[in-house]
């Protein structure tokens, strides 16, 4: 098992290197720099600023020193916020992103499982078709469409919820969580439905029915547990997706999380912050994918023994 984890981590190194190199050079070739502002900056001042951030050195030297800083876990200073390090800015953005991801996960599980159970209990009736076609729409609809749509309906027409913000007015966390969680809820619904249908046709369920147990107990006490394995396996990568994929939602709803500052950093040409967030997200995805693989292996005895053979 340890060898498996070790080899996966080694594989991650070239991936991260390519991500860093691509981002590093791409942002520098984008027009405009961190110090171009509407008020023209005197050439002397501009030169001094570039010198302070080592932008006057050859690009490859800059890249080299960035990598060596990175190896020490130092993302460098922000260009936009003097006196702030990128590490600090990222750390400040994590709580909102993590909170949003967590609520979205709750939305995904609660909505998804409810819909899946309802559908599985009456297969091929309207109670199946309705949630399942909604789920299909949920999977297909991108968040940048669903978000504004929800805002339009619940924020502007019905005026039930705030249109944006995070933790500023009551209820402003509802729409972002729903928007982000919806696509995942749809997956969970489909997984739950198929899992539950499969389990419901098993012999032990028939035994339970024969014993005259009420339907409620059969479903919730006996069937559901078995049908949840695929859902659980799905939740690992889902959480990684929720954290890293939240920047669209954060931008729509102005959530002060990592994703939004990632986008703003790009607009500000805050080179170090762009790179720092990219690397951070890349690491996050690598780690969560690895975790879910480990989890899947641990859940699945066949895979587990396979790993054991190799080690």
């Amino acid at each position: 098992m340890w060898r498996f984890i070790g080899s996966r981590l080694l594989q991650a190194i070239p991936v991260l290197f390519i991500v860093i190199a691509l981002t590093f050079f791409l942002v520098r070739f984008a027009p405009g720099g961190p110090f171009s502002t509407e008020k023209a900056v005197v050439p002397e001042v501009k030169r001094a600023l570039e010198a302070q951030y080592h932008l006057d050195q050859p690009l490859l030297v800059q890249f080299g020193s960035y990598l060596s800083d990175l190896a020490r876990g130092d993302f460098g200073p922000s260009f936009k916020y003097p006196g702030r390090s990128v590490n600090e800015l990222i750390a400040a953005g994590i709580p909102a992103t993590a909170e949003l991801g967590f609520y979205a996960l709750i939305v995904a599980v609660v909505l998804g499982m409810t819909a899946g159970i309802v559908a599985a209990l009456s297969p091929n009736t309207w109670r199946d078709y309705l949630p399942m076609s909604s789920a299909m729409i949920g999977i297909c609809m991108p968040t940048f469409l669903l978000g504004p749509l929800l805002v339009l309906i619940f924020g502007l027409w019905l005026e039930w919820t705030p249109v944006s913000g995070w933790g500023e007015v009551p209820g402003d966390k509802i729409l972002p969580s729903l928007t982000l969680g919806a696509a995942y809820a749809a997956y969970v619904a489909r997984l739950t439905r198929s899992g539950l249908l499969e389990v419901l046709s098993q012999d032990y369920i028939r035994t339970a029915r024969a014993k005259g147990l009420p339907n409620f107990i059969i479903v919730f006490k006996h069937a559901l547990r078995g049908s949840l394995i695929p859902v659980v396996a799905f939740l690992g990568p889902a959480f990684a997706g929720l954290l890293s994929g939240s920047f669209v939602v954060e931008t729509i709803f102005q959530v002060p999380g990592l994703g939004r500052f990632f986008v703003q950093a790009a607009f500000n040409r805050d080179y170090t912050l762009i790179l720092g967030s990219t690397v951070f997200f890349a690491v996050l995805i690598v780690v969560f994918n690895l975790l879910s693989d480990v989890l899947a292996a641990w859940l699945n005895p066949r895979l587990r023994s396979g790993l054991g053979d190799r080690s």
């Binding site: 984008a30 027009p31 405009g32 720099g33 171009s36 502002t37 509407e38 008020k39 023209a40 900056v41 005197v42 002397e44 001042v45 501009k46 001094a48 600023l49 010198a51 302070q52 200073p77 936009k80 916020y81 003097p82 006196g83 702030r84 390090s85 600090e88 800015l89 400040a92 953005g93 909102a96 609520y103 709750i106 939305v107 599980v109 609660v110 499982m113 409810t114 705030p162 249109v163 944006s164 913000g165 995070w166 933790g167 500023e168 007015v169 009551p170 209820g171 402003d172 966390k173 509802i174 969580s177 919730f220 006490k221 559901l224 547990r225 102005q254 002060p256 607009f267 500000n268 040409r269």
Partner: protein, 538 residues
């Protein structure tokens, strides 16, 4: 598996109870704490490394210059200096500092603190974008650009610990205003040097636990993306007259949310208001809505090096074919003021020439004279703007007016901010939107942009007579009347040549709770927080 129901319940509770809390406005009135929407997350509070308005607001609370500005009239009022003399030739200022001026750690504030701060502000290595505010001071520009390395030749002299003498290049009537600019505020040498080199932009000296300041308030808390809190500074020389106990600044980038926060009694003052909410406030709560002229101009830059646009008659025709009144009424919710000159009328007592007006007939004639009758043959004009809904609407309206009045086909191009700036800078556009907010109440802050090769000229336009007026003749003028006549002459040239097309004059628009007193509107949108108080409705 009842856990599903529990989970549902928990999530509902979390989602509904996760935010909100106390209403800050009544609580703030009780505690003397002002809650204010401050636009974006401030870059920092070091006046030498930041330039924005949200930063400036906080700096105004934390620091005080030699002189301040009356929030109503913007006339100079005593600050750290209790009085001052000006030499008869208007080039030498002598400031007498009050002996009881102190830093927020109790240390005395002396003339040397100002000298050192300005030395720092002019260090080429620091990269202070506002260094030019000090350029009226003798040799300051030469020092800041590295042409002079001996700071003792710069016109700042400490006569004794409480007397500071400043020598200027030329009499500069607006110099007293510059002293209230954030880049001229005194900074604590001891603290800055404790946390690194004075020219280090990455220094931690501005962190709440480190910073020392000399203004009515001191920084006590800075939570990224949440709030910046300042509390009354007990060592401030006029602390007895500071009415507020503290101010909390919130980053409120989203004006829709900000308005909601105001409505739910979470903010006393907002930084802005969404355009579509204005009419509702006008009708229902006019006393909470504040709309005032602001020292800013919105205009179109014209690339005078492009064929067609290199003809002043074409440029004037374009300017005359825009119906500004209609634009403001139909596109801008009637909150701005039509501009027929670059400098807003009334800037420091200046009345600009009235040369430009909406005149489609005259515009068509000019265009025909230039060789493009009925717009025929004019190379394509493209309006460049940075991606923004309001800019787009304005560009569309202008496009339609040019089509209707001049029969000119215009295309539109929106670009992301930095790309737009880059193209503006390299003259890679034909017509582009632009705006300028004046730094001080004097026409100079607008008109000096368009000197040949000026950093904000961005039009390729050059006029020797104009340069001569702005750079040499006006600075040598002795009386106010003479100067204003000089600016009138310069702006006349600008309007005849029309390298830029004035569109509208900015306005500040925001919401303010009736309990907030002592915060009058002014052209620079400056607040004097030491005079602000919160009084419950009686």
């Amino acid at each position: 598996m009842i856990s599903i129901r529990t989970l549902l319940l928990i999530s509902l509770v979390i989602l509904t109870a996760c935010s909100g809390g106390e209403r800050r406005v009544p609580q703030g009135i009780k505690d003397g704490i002002l809650h204010i929407g401050n636009g974006t997350e401030p870059q920092g509070v070091d006046p030498h490394t930041t330039t924005g308005i949200p930063e400036h607001r906080i700096q105004q609370a934390l620091f005080e210059g030699l002189v301040g500005q009356d929030p109503k009239t913007l006339e100079p009022i005593p600050g750290v200096a209790e009085r001052w003399d000006v030499s008869p030739d208007g080039r030498t200022y002598r400031f007498y500092l009050r002996h009881n001026a102190k830093w927020s750690n109790g240390d005395s504030l002396t003339a040397e603190d100002f000298r050192w701060t300005w030395w720092r502000g002019l260090q080429p290595a620091l990269g202070n974008e506002y260094a030019y505010m000090m350029y009226p001071v003798k040799n300051a520009e030469a020092y800041a650009t590295g042409k002079l390395t001996d700071f003792s030749q710069v016109g700042v002299r400490v006569v004794d610990p409480y007397t500071l003498e400043i020598e200027l290049n030329a009499p500069t009537p607006y110099f007293m205003q510059l002293l209230d600019h954030q880049s001229m505020y005194p900074l604590p040498r001891k603290i800055i040097e404790k946390f690194g080199s004075p020219t280090d932009r990455f220094s931690l000296w501005t962190r709440p636990e480190n910073i020392v300041s000399n203004g009515p308030f001191k920084l006590t808390e800075w939570k990224l993306y949440k709030r910046v809190t300042v509390e009354k500074n007990p060592y401030y020389w006029d602390a007895a007259n500071v009415k507020l106990n503290g101010i909390v600044f919130y980053p409120t980038e989203n004006t829709v949310t900000e308005e909601r926060l105001f409505r739910s009694q979470q903010l006393h003052v907002t930084s802005s208001i969404p355009l579509d909410k204005i009419s509702r406030y006008r009708q229902e709560r006019p006393d909470e809505l504040r709309i005032n002229p602001y020292l800013g101009s919105y205009y179109l830059l014209i690339n005078t090096t492009r064929p067609g646009l290199n003809d002043a008659r074409v440029r004037r025709a374009l300017a005359m074919a825009i119906d500004r009144e209609s634009l403001i009424k139909n596109v801008l919710s009637n909150v701005n003021f039509p501009a027929y000159t670059l400098t807003p009328p009334g800037t420091g007592g200046y009345q600009p020439p009235t040369l430009l007006k909406f005149d489609p007939e005259g515009a068509r004639k000019l265009l025909a004279e230039a060789g493009y009758p009925n717009g025929k043959g004019l190379p394509n004009v493209e309006i460049l703007y940075n991606t923004n809904e309001a800019h787009r609407k304005i560009a569309v309206a202008i496009q339609q007016m040019w089509k209707a009045n001049l029969n000119i086909d215009t295309t539109m191009l929106n670009q992301e901010w930095k790309v737009y700036l880059d193209n503006r800078d390299t003259l890679n556009y034909s017509v582009a939107r632009a705006a300028w907010i004046g730094d001080y109440l004097d026409p100079d802050t607008f008109l000096n942009m368009f000197i040949t090769g000026g950093g904000n000229n961005d039009t390729g336009w050059s006029n020797a007579e104009y340069d001569d007026l702005i750079l040499r003749k006006i600075p040598a003028m002795k009386t106010h009347e003479e100067r204003m006549a000089g600016f009138y002459q310069a702006e006349t040239i600008l309007l005849q040549e029309m390298p830029i097309i004035p569109i509208y004059i900015y306005s500040t628009k925001y919401l303010i709770h009736p309990s907030v007193k002592g915060m009058p509107a002014n052209l620079l949108d400056h607040y004097l927080f030491k005079q602000v108080s919160l009084e419950p409705d009686t």
